[in-house]
């Protein structure tokens, strides 16, 4: 029997509050953290709303040198990793550091730092031959996204396998899955896994403006701008943040008396090989990923108590995803509560997958389904139970989290409540 992976610690830096507790309070309270962009002047942009983190690196405990060295995405990751390690109670200086791994996801890496420095070196884009004499000491650390995993590895005293996973908007789910892989294959006893992105900068906002993926300005209603599954939805709201988790082999976690939030029971990913940004309406490849994840978990549709949807709030995504749930879960899809927390914290690209896994683990702990905020106008093509507006107390043993990203990537992960008697245990 291969080792099993459990989540024993959670750290989060999310819009609406820094820290796991603040994050869960926001989700359970159904509050939204989307607002007019303050991090840069978005006056000339098509979309001017985002879900920003009120993040003070000094208050978050970073030193002067760490703040100078790390771009915002790295700062998020390190702060979330510290919280996760503390939450788990594990001593990362004990044991063999070669058995500690790191798996961090990010879609766009240190893009904020890279862009800020570009502006200086090119004199606001005037010079193609940028002036190297203005380069800051850690500039190469911004150019290579692997820096994000390296920073977390230093925090965690990790000398085992360390990876930065960058599969666009499924990076966060895929990074947690990669961490689970390292436990299951026996390479690690402990993995620090999660994802971070801080894409709120002009170039990223302009990217999504150009393809009309983000919502155009909602007059005076920034708080209600992210509307997954709603008939009025017209694009996603960009977000930022990080979630990092401590993943351990189940037996070792139990032996040290660790709290266990959840076991990762199943995972699979597929690609649509269709279009870099477009989705077919039938949800075929996402359905395939969900089906394989269920098989690996030895569960079936009726065992799933909650679906944490990708639910980005674009016209095509929410339709695609609804079709995928019906295709993979059949009639049960209508009975399972589904929600999109992007309605509250926006879409933080690669980070969101890990924030969603963390939300699922917390939902299992509290036996509460976070809602889909801002959902009031039904869309006939989205006809499942999306838990509108208000969180719901709900008994659940197994939950499904899915992601869908640019490049055509589709990922599905199943988490089980500890002691829930997963299909794998029975088998």
């Amino acid at each position: 029997m291969s080792p099993r992976a459990v989540i024993t610690g959670i750290g989060a830096v999310a819009p609406g509050g820094v820290g796991r507790e603040a994050y869960w309070d926001l989700l359970a309270g159904g509050r939204t953290a989307t607002r007019d962009i303050s991090l840069f002047d978005a006056g000339t942009f098509r979309s001017r709303i985002a879900a920003e983190c009120d993040f003070d690196p000094v208050a978050a405990g970073l030193s002067a040198q760490e703040i100078r060295r790390m771009d915002r995405a790295a700062q998020f990751a390190v702060v979330a990793a510290r919280e996760a390690i503390e939450d788990s109670g594990i001593d990362t200086t004990a044991g063999d550091p070669g058995r500690t791994g790191v798996s961090i996801g990010s879609a766009v890496g240190c893009t904020t730092g890279l862009e800020d420095e570009y502006v200086v070196l090119s004199d606001s884009g005037r010079n193609w031959l940028v002036d190297h004499s203005y380069g800051v000491p850690h500039l190469y650390g911004y150019m290579v996204p692997s820096t994000l995993a390296a920073e977390v590895a230093w925090q965690a005293n990790a000398q085992g396998p360390v990876a930065l996973i960058s599969t666009g908007c499924t990076s966060g789910l895929d990074a947690v899955a990669h961490g689970v892989q390292l436990i299951e294959e026996g390479a690690c006893d402990l993995v620090i896994a999660g994802a971070t992105d801080a894409p709120l900068s002009p170039i990223t906002a302009a990217c999504f403006d150009a393809i009309k993926a983000t919502t155009p300005n909602h007059d005076d209603d920034a708080a209600g701008a992210s509307r997954p599954f709603d008939g009025r939805r017209d694009g996603f709201v960009l977000g930022e943040g990080a979630a990092v988790m401590v993943i351990e082999e189940a037996g070792a976690a139990r032996r040290r008396g660790a709290q266990i939030y959840a076991e990762v029971a199943g995972f699979a990913s597929r690609s649509n090989a269709y279009h870099m940004t477009g989705l077919k309406a039938d949800g075929r490849e996402m359905a395939e990923a969900i089906g394989v994840a269920l098989d690996r978990a030895r569960l079936d549709a009726r065992d799933i108590g909650y679906i944490n949807a990708h639910g980005s709030g674009t016209k095509q995504n929410d339709r695609h995803e609804t079709a995928a749930f019906k295709r993979s879960l059949g009639q049960h899809a209508y009975d399972i509560p589904v929600s999109s927390i992007k309605s509250m914290i926006g879409h933080s690209l690669g980070a969101i997958g890990s924030l969603e896994v963390a939300a699922c683990a917390l939902a299992l702990r509290h036996q509460v389904v976070p809602p889909t905020a801002n959902l009031s106008v039904p869309d006939p093509q989205c006809d499942l139970d999306y838990v509108p507006v208000t969180a719901r107390e709900h008994r659940m043993d197994h939950v499904l989290s899915v992601g869908s990203g640019f490049g055509g990537f589709q990922s599905a992960m199943i988490l089980s409540r500890p002691g829930a008697g997963s299909g794998r245990e029975a088998a």
Partner: protein
């Protein structure tokens, strides 16, 4: 079965059945290997932009690569050069493996590439538009060209590969990690994986971003610029290109009736202690773990393709690890990357291609350049290729910040490329 679908028992053997090489030495695996054995360098003064104002003027550029001769125009305009190179290399690899994706099960084919820095040149052009003209001038394809997943996504779409795709970023070590991940996928339901990596950040911002590391060689003479393990070593030369490989389960290759260049026998990865730590680098431990994974002892290794950073401390650390694991001066060591420069995500993938070709030809390519490594106590193959029977090679890669990976390769049964 595990949550990730890992079966009980032994791994399924993984073999490499196709090579697609696009490197400063040449376009095409066979021509690349000829250039390597001839010691023909791809290093020269940078031509992609005027390097006069920069302290680094030498790089490894891919000669004569015209993207539109290899891939459809629509993809040329929508993707960065690092993706152009990968799309072209992927086609070459599939053709070399005689693999037609249309005839294989869609969910059992996957793409896993390494990227070190994404579409840097494309990104610089779009940021220039943004800051000179405004957000409305940023093109629609920036969102899909700049990010690190651009190559995997485009290759998956182009060849209808709908399996579990991936992207790993670990700077220079990423190419080995992508191959390690491919092997995992072959254990969990995939039968063919396109893997490897490319990079192409030879634009002004891409070069400038590397300067603060102090790791790039400022020597203007291409023949003296990249001298790993030499007492005159003072940094490496940046390059572009890489390799894409077709990796298959041995059963899958046999079923298709194709030979292979070699087996991936073992893999391991680790990460160095934080800067300032007194603990040693992890390289020796990682090599040992890779050998254990392969079920081989150090004595079984016939050649090591080194990381060869050409930084005095890094070279010494690498030589120390080699001597510790294999015995002082016991194993021949080489670094053909002196002909290409460091290719980041493409570098280790290219080293794997070169190592497989070496195993098949029973010849160790030399480390070109006036390199003298006697003071480090390693048996560096210099001056000319060394003909000797080869069964097993180890490829090493170390990425910026501490990423460390090792791959163990065994000789294959394919010889048609040697004629």
């Amino acid at each position: 079965m595990s949550a990730l679908g890992i079966p009980e028992g032994r791994r399924r053997p993984s073999v490499v059945t196709g090579l697609g090489v696009i490197a400063p030495t040449a376009i095409g695996a066979r021509r690349h290997f000829e250039a390597v054995l001839a010691g023909k360098s791809g290093l020269a003064r940078i031509t992609r932009f005027d390097p006069t104002s920069y302290p680094v003027k030498v790089a490894g550029e891919v000669p004569g690569f015209e993207a539109d001769q290899h891939i459809p125009d629509i993809l040329v305009s929508r993707t960065d050069r690092f993706t152009h190179l990968a799309l072209a290399a992927a086609e070459m690899a599939l053709a070399d493996a005689q693999a037609d994706p249309a005839t294989l099960p869609e969910y059992e084919m996957a793409v896993v590439t390494a990227s070190s820095s994404g579409g840097t040149e494309f990104g610089q052009r779009e940021m220039e538009q943004l800051y000179q003209r405004g957000p409305a001038w940023v093109g629609a394809f920036q969102s899909i060209a700049w990010f690190y997943a651009a190559t995997t996504g485009q290759v998956s779409i182009r060849h209808g590969m709908r399996g579990p795709c991936g992207v790993i970023c670990a700077e220079q070590a990423g190419g080995l990690d992508a191959l390690g991940q491919s092997r995992r996928l072959l254990d969990t339901g995939s039968r063919l994986v396109l893997s490897g990596g490319t990079d192409a950040s030879l634009c002004p911002y891409g070069l400038t971003a590397q300067l603060p590391t102090g790791h790039l060689s400022t020597e203007d003479d291409p023949t003296r610029a990249y001298l790993p393990f030499d007492e005159a070593a003072r940094g490496y030369v940046p390059g572009e290109g890489g390799a894409i490989l077709v990796v298959e389960s041995e059963d899958g290759a046999r079923e298709r009736g194709v030979g292979h260049y070699g087996r991936i026998l073992g893999y391991a990865a680790g990460f160095d202690p934080a800067p300032g730590s007194r603990r040693p680098p992890v390289l020796a431990a990682v090599i040992r773990r890779a050998l254990a994974d392969a079920g081989l002892s150090a004595d079984a290794v016939d050649v090591v393709f080194a990381d060869a950073a050409a930084l005095p401390d890094a070279d010494r650390a690498e030589a120390t690890a080699l001597n510790e694991v294999f015995g002082a001066g016991r194993v021949p060591v080489t670094a053909p990357k002196t002909l290409t420069g460091r290719l980041y995500a493409g570098g280790a993938a290219l080293d794997v291609a070169t190592a497989l070709l070496s195993l098949a030809a029973d010849v160790i390519p030399h480390t070109a350049g006036p390199v003298e490594a006697g003071h480090l106590g390693i048996d560096l193959v210099v001056e000319r290729p060394r003909h000797t029977p080869l069964r097993t090679a180890v490829v090493l890669a170390r990425g910026h910040g501490g990423f460390t990976s090792a791959l163990v390769l065994g000789a294959g049964d394919r010889t048609d490329h040697l004629t």
